[in-house]
């Protein structure tokens, strides 16, 4: 299972857990699984077009997915996904 690090603003949705498990072969599938487990999760990290929000950085095994395949980035069996606020300005 994939380990997901949940940033402070989203812990309300995960009963204050900062580390949760999820399944999925791509980041997109992982997000869908997170939504299934914690309803409302997807809307906090994706915009209406299903793209990652400007102010959210997502890392798969410490690599920024914008340097990989974005939401289509493949995710290994025991990968670590970190969701981190983008500090100040947004990017993609």
């Amino acid at each position: 299972m994939v380990t997901v690090r949940v940033p402070a603003p989203l812990r309300r949705l995960t009963s204050e857990q900062r580390l949760v498990k999820a399944t999925g072969k791509t980041l997109s599938e992982v997000v869908r699984d997170l939504e299934r487990q914690f309803p409302g999760f997807a809307a906090r990290v994706l915009d209406n077009d299903g793209k990652v929000l400007s102010f959210v950085n997502i890392f798969v095994d410490n690599e920024d997915v914008r340097f990989l395949q974005g939401l289509q980035t493949p995710v290994r069996e025991d990968a670590e996904v970190a969701i981190i606020p983008a500090m100040a300005g947004g990017t993609l």
């Binding site: 102010f55 410490n62 920024d64 970190a82 983008a86 500090m87 100040a88 300005g89």
Partner: protein, 411 residues
């Protein structure tokens, strides 16, 4: 001090003045909100009565000065650059020489605000992700404040920066990655441990210190805004805050208008903002930096979007120069105005020169170039372009044979 609340720059949600930096609703960045109308008028009298440091402008900063820990940053010289100006066809060119700060970079301003804020919030450890100057400033200010410091830097920083930082005995962590990876790591650490990362969880307070570079220039010009500013871009925060400072002076009736064009300077080897500007895009594509201007080597600039928006609104340009032009910029400033800046300053002078060549400045317009750091910290950049001393024996004959000709006629 008129700070009231934190407000999300994107969705407008408001929060109390807590050590938070991210909007709970939309993840957007938070910014300090002031009650401008509550300030005494004329506000410039308050400023003029203040200390000869950045704390002069305390009424527009989010924290109060603490005299026991203050290193007195700011109030740096604004030099009328006649010789450089003549070379570039500019009569009213000014150099804001911020290399003369307590740790020789403008970071002393933002860190001065951050450390006093960190103390107020009861943090024990001051920390940062840094390309060098920030670590130096955090280490120094933390030492004076009696706080522990832990600074995170990428591998490969210039020796002068690391040496200068280590003297204050912080914990220096050298991360095997570039700055963006260090930044990401620090964001993760800040989520898990109650440390004051000045440019992460204290960022809304920290960044306000940059406004003082706008306030001071306006005061030094006789309470007016310059026509153009040229500012180096790392995260982009400084350019945005300089403009915010000028806007606040207008808002509080201190200066009559702000028609300043904000030009940004990057290195070609790390130009995500310049690239987006040239391509007419709103989105910044992050890059993997490759440039001698390590101070500016931030491939994913946090304030990039805001820089783009600002420049397009006010007619500023965002340009990038080559590593060669950077070194030429350092030499040019040193040889014409007697100021030795680091590579980030070389970037600024390089872009200033390009803008002048492209006719962006009117010959009588007031142009201010911000020199944000000191040359000894990036000594490697100029090692190959400086001339060695002339070696002679202590005889008049040796002098006349080897030196007179070299010195030549004074023009």
């Amino acid at each position: 001090m008129s700070a009231q609340q934190l407000k999300c720059r994107e969705c407008g949600a408001v929060y109390p003045l807590d050590p938070i930096f991210v909007c709970e609703r939309c993840f957007g960045p938070l910014e300090v909100l002031y009650d401008y109308d509550a300030l005494p008028r004329p506000l410039q009298r308050t400023f003029e009565a203040g200390p000869k440091s950045m704390w002069r402008y305390e009424s527009l900063l989010p924290s109060r000065r603490d005299p026991e820990i203050d290193l007195a940053p700011g109030f740096s010289p604004l030099l009328h650059a006649l010789r450089l100006g003549r070379k570039l066809g500019l009569e009213q060119l000014y150099i804001k020489n911020d290399s003369v700060n307590p740790t020789w970079s403008f970071k002393d301003r933002v860190v001065g605000v951050a450390i006093v804020t960190a103390k107020r919030f009861g943090f024990d450890v001051a920390a940062c992700a840094s390309t060098g100057n920030l670590a130096n400033a955090v280490a120094a200010h933390a030492a004076r404040a009696g706080m522990r410091a832990c600074v995170f830097i990428p591998r490969g920083l210039e020796r002068g920066k690391v040496l200068a930082t280590s003297v204050y005995r912080p914990t220096i962590v050298e991360v095997d990655g570039n700055y963006d990876e260090v930044n990401r790591l620090c964001a993760q650490i800040a989520e898990e441990h109650r440390w004051a990362f000045v440019n992460v969880n204290l960022r809304p307070y920290y960044s306000e210190g940059g406004k003082t570079l706008g306030f001071e220039v306006a005061e030094q010009l006789g309470w007016r805004a310059p026509d153009h500013v040229v500012v180096p871009i790392a995260s982009g925060s400084l350019l945005v805050k300089i403009h915010k400072g000028l806007s606040e002076l207008h808002r509080t009736g201190v200066i009559p208008s702000v028609r300043t064009k904000t030009h940004g300077a990057q290195a070609e080897g790390c130009a995500p903002v310049a690239n987006a500007f040239a391509a007419g895009q709103d989105q910044i594509q992050p890059v993997k930096p490759q440039t001698i201007a390590r101070s500016l080597a931030i491939g994913d600039p946090a304030d990039g979007r805001y820089v783009l928006r600002l420049a397009r609104e006010n007619g500023g340009r965002i340009l990038a120069v080559s590593d060669e032009e950077i070194v030429e910029g350092i030499s040019l400033l040193a040889e014409t105005e007697g100021v030795f800046t680091e590579t980030a300053g070389g970037v600024t002078v390089g872009v200033l020169r390009r803008l002048a060549e492209e006719g962006v400045f009117g010959p009588e317009e007031v142009v201010v170039a911000y020199i944000t750091g000191m040359g000894l910290k990036t000594a490697e950049a100029v090692e190959d372009v400086v001339a060695p001393p002339i070696a002679i024996r202590p005889t008049l004959r040796d002098f006349e044979a080897n030196v007179l000709g070299a010195v030549g006629a004074v023009s």
